[in-house]
Subunit: 405 residues, 3 copies
């Protein structure tokens, strides 16, 4: 149980807040790169700030305050030219440093330069990442799956109307919520009590976060809680990342990144690409939280807790050891940076940032029988072309085993 002050400290992420300061020390993915293809500008809400992301060239981006310094026009409607962003109203032009470079309707530029707050944005693994913290910026971690070839990459974004921490705490739950829910669901169908033995989990801190694993067996790791706001799960053939990016105190962008390897040598392996989409979280008609897919079930839990979970009313138990560990580490790191220290898991040396490996886990979901149509089990709203690509990749293994296409 936390005090109200402690709950505030962990959940508020705006400029100048303790947690806001800590999270600003890390890169956060904010968009799929494909989102900038049709229109090179996009509003971004990140850590309580209103920003505009604009694409200035091949893999080059600017990220500055959203509203023009002149008279407050929304630069998300701006026009990108010459690696800079022009306000649609009177044509003021901003470079990626936020400096105003041109005022086409004025005889001369003002003596005092005008400058919008500017941040950094970079492309990696089909996502655009943003950094809002002090310089020098660390590197975006080069996770090993980011350089995989011969498979399908999917970037799936969901806007969740709840605080980031109730999402991230879930990564430190010993049991996987989907497994538990499945077990309980089948218990309901059979009328029998759920066949759940008391579970003993251990949480090992390591360089990049925490590993969650069964306590006394040598069995595979269950999942990795990436510090400070991510998740990794999967193996060499199939894996996913999730980041819970705080847009503001009551809104979180859940950005999930999936890799699904095609059978080597298959047509599907050659046709691999990156798909992205926004996944809905609620049924259109009723407004109820969707529960059709594995991550949507988790979203439903988080969304229905409250916009910001009131942790003064909780009753933690032995099984919450991981959650407590995560909170303690957050408090510890807040103090650390307040004392001028360097927080956990920053990477500055490019030589050390190469294909970083994370622990493999057993596949979470048993493969469907080959005769069934493969369907993406994680998130609702998959577009037809992504579904078709997913089907091809999954089926490539069957064909391979059968020895014929």
């Amino acid at each position: 149980m936390l005090s109200a002050e402690q709950n505030e400290a962990l959940t508020r992420i705006g400029p100048g807040t303790p947690m806001g300061d800590l999270l600003r020390r890390y890169w956060h993915p904010v968009a799929a790169t494909g989102e900038l293809d049709d229109r090179p500008t996009r509003p971004v809400r990140l850590l309580g700030e209103d920003l505009v992301l604009f694409k200035t060239g091949e893999a080059a981006y600017g990220l500055i305050e959203r509203f023009c310094a002149h008279r407050g026009t929304d630069l998300a409607y701006g026009i990108v030219a010459d690696a800079a962003l022009r306000c649609p109203r009177h044509g003021w032009l901003y470079g990626d440093t936020g400096l105003c470079l041109d005022m086409p309707l004025e005889e001369e530029m003002p003596a005092e330069p005008i400058k919008l707050r500017a941040h950094q944005a970079r492309e990696k693994a089909g996502m655009v990442w943003a950094y809002l913290g002090p310089q020098p910026a660390p590197l975006i971690p080069d996770w090993e799956p980011f350089s995989r070839q011969g498979g399908l990459v999917q970037v799936v974004l969901s806007v969740l109307h709840c605080n980031w921490l109730q999402c991230q705490e879930n990564t430190m739950d010993g049991i996987d919520m989907e497994q538990l829910m499945d077990a309980l669901q089948s218990a309901r169908r059979d009328g029998a009590p759920p066949p759940l033995p008391p579970l003993d989990f251990a949480f090992d801190e390591f360089e990049h976060g925490f590993v969650v694993r069964p306590g006394e067996s040598g069995a595979a790791v269950t999942k990795t809680s990436l510090w400070p706001n991510g998740l990794f799960s999967g193996d060499d053939r199939s894996c996913r990342f999730e980041w819970r990016v705080p847009m503001d105190d009551e809104t979180t962008l859940n950005l999930a990144w999936f890799f699904e390897r095609a059978a080597p040598g298959s047509d599907a392996a050659l046709q691999s690409g990156v798909h992205f989409w926004y996944a809905p979280t609620r049924e259109e008609e009723t407004g109820e939280a969707l529960q059709t897919h594995q991550l949507n079930k988790k979203f439903a839990i988080w969304l229905n807790q409250a916009p910001i979970l009131d942790r003064t009313k909780e009753h933690l138990t032995e099984g919450d050891a991981g959650v407590v560990m995560l909170r303690n580490k957050l408090f510890n790191q807040i103090s650390l940076i307040q004392d001028g220290g360097e927080p956990k898991a920053l990477i500055y040396d490019p030589a050390r940032n190469q294909k970083l490996r994370l622990p493999e886990t057993a596949p979470l979901f048993a493969a469907k029988p080959a005769e069934q149509e493969p369907a993406f089990p994680y998130l609702a709203g998959q577009p037809d072309d992504a579904a078709e690509a997913y089907r091809r990749v999954v089926e490539s293994w069957n064909r391979d085993e059968a020895g014929s296409p």
Copy 2:
């Protein structure tokens, strides 16, 4: 005219408020029993409290706090098993007393028992009723129409975004609003001034509320204002109840219960059943309050007054004697229970709670000519199967009179 403080006292119904305390002394219908058929859990908002209703067996229900004591998970997504409700997240199991009975992931239960606030829920007349007050709980009144056979029962729920009192005060208006509106409407069509004589109404308090009747004639009762938040109107063949159940200060569940008798011996009399539905209150496209049906017209009035009517600006007249009587009784009963007294209309003795009769009224609406298709005149959104059942019941009388089906 009320002072601002008086208006607050009558309209605020959350825990610990004077009116909240008074209304907690009575049972309130909160759902149609059929709502629990497909899914045995349902969120309930009642008197400012967030609760979850769950069906534990044949006509058995639990009603406890909505959010799990562990880490705030929404129990409306819970799983009912063994007459208890299991949290979908870590499997904590709650009985209908609110006590946590099982934590399947823990080695042992905590020394200090964990308990959610629990209330009572019972089934009667096709509705689930809730009681949030002190023990011993009174009985749910056994109104005589509840045991009628050989007719159609309809339970129609409408969520109104306004305070309960502006709905209930309407029961103490002398003239029936529908009649007045109809008179005024025809006046408009004819261009003539409305043919409304000054009306003289009397309001007689009785055991279960107030009877509204013409002042000096012996004519039939107009309607009954059921204490503290109901209405009854009708006769042996056709009648309705309405309860205005406060969900919170600015939201009211109008739960209406209709009985329509089929001609004795007709097929319709044998096929009688219970239908339920949620009636819309606004046009989907424009958002304007629906005015297509008799009760919808009243809803439109209430909804457009303001979320909580400001009674400091009103100008009451002789015609508002009933409204004043209702308010005075509410103030009187608030004082009474604050002094430890037992409020009006509670029934504790089962022997006295048998087929309680209420005054009959003349049918409010003239029967349609037999050649017209009978249509339910009260509430929008009637599903096809209920409409068909209603038509059969109404037409059974024509067939009966004609002596042939």
Copy 3:
């Protein structure tokens, strides 16, 4: 840049505010007359007041407080009879002075008369205008285009969720936003920097507002900023007015009035009429501001600034001389009326209020080639019959020139 207090002073328009007092000295259009055809009552929100407009006869209107003095019933549901408005609930009858004339359910009227606040409403040029200020009321300006014949009149209403001033300041921007946006758009397409020379505009105050014109050339006026919240643009063949009518601090009714002349003697000239519609401002599916039409593009700018633009953060330049002139005049006029003076542009003498001419401007948009289907370029949502009428009027000139239909 304004102080926070100055920004408040110019943007808040409720009863008793300095700007509210100033704007109450003028007539404001609040509806198309056709809106009262089907139903003779309409809720009106104007300058922060909730009112009901009702049509009492040929071109006669009442405009009184929206909620009945009795018990707060919404009079927008009222029944109009005998040039007065009857409450739908208990039949209280209000004349256009706001006085309660009849209480049909009471034996006698109260000794103390009951009176709702009442304002004035008049019809002119297919619009209903309202006046909420002190008596004597000035005249509604009789702009010359209002008496044009032989063409199509369109009244197009848009509800904008932003403060009135960010709309009206736009009338004092030197360059026309649409032209600039078009230039910038084509710059984007070509990759070249926008071909915009530094522009020199002049703003001349005159009796009815400000004329905006190129600074050193004798070229035609660009547009007229009508004092205090209007715009005029166009010539004898085609012109438009726009008024930015404050509904409340954060909502503005943009009411646009268009005249499009048909070729003299053409069939279209004989069939001219008045069309009206509500134009959408956002895409239904995405909720994004529409940018399909010229005025919608401007709306998008205003809507995305913020509900009330924060002028403490702006950086004004030489090019904002017009905006500064407008603000100074507003401050000046606020002081003037606080000292008991008569503000700018009021007309009291009917002899002086006859076909008032405004400066003509060059047509803003080049005519489409004759072989193209003429389409109304200004606002989304034009109904089919208005589109057909518009097409006929525009094409009448081609036919005329060609000498055959």
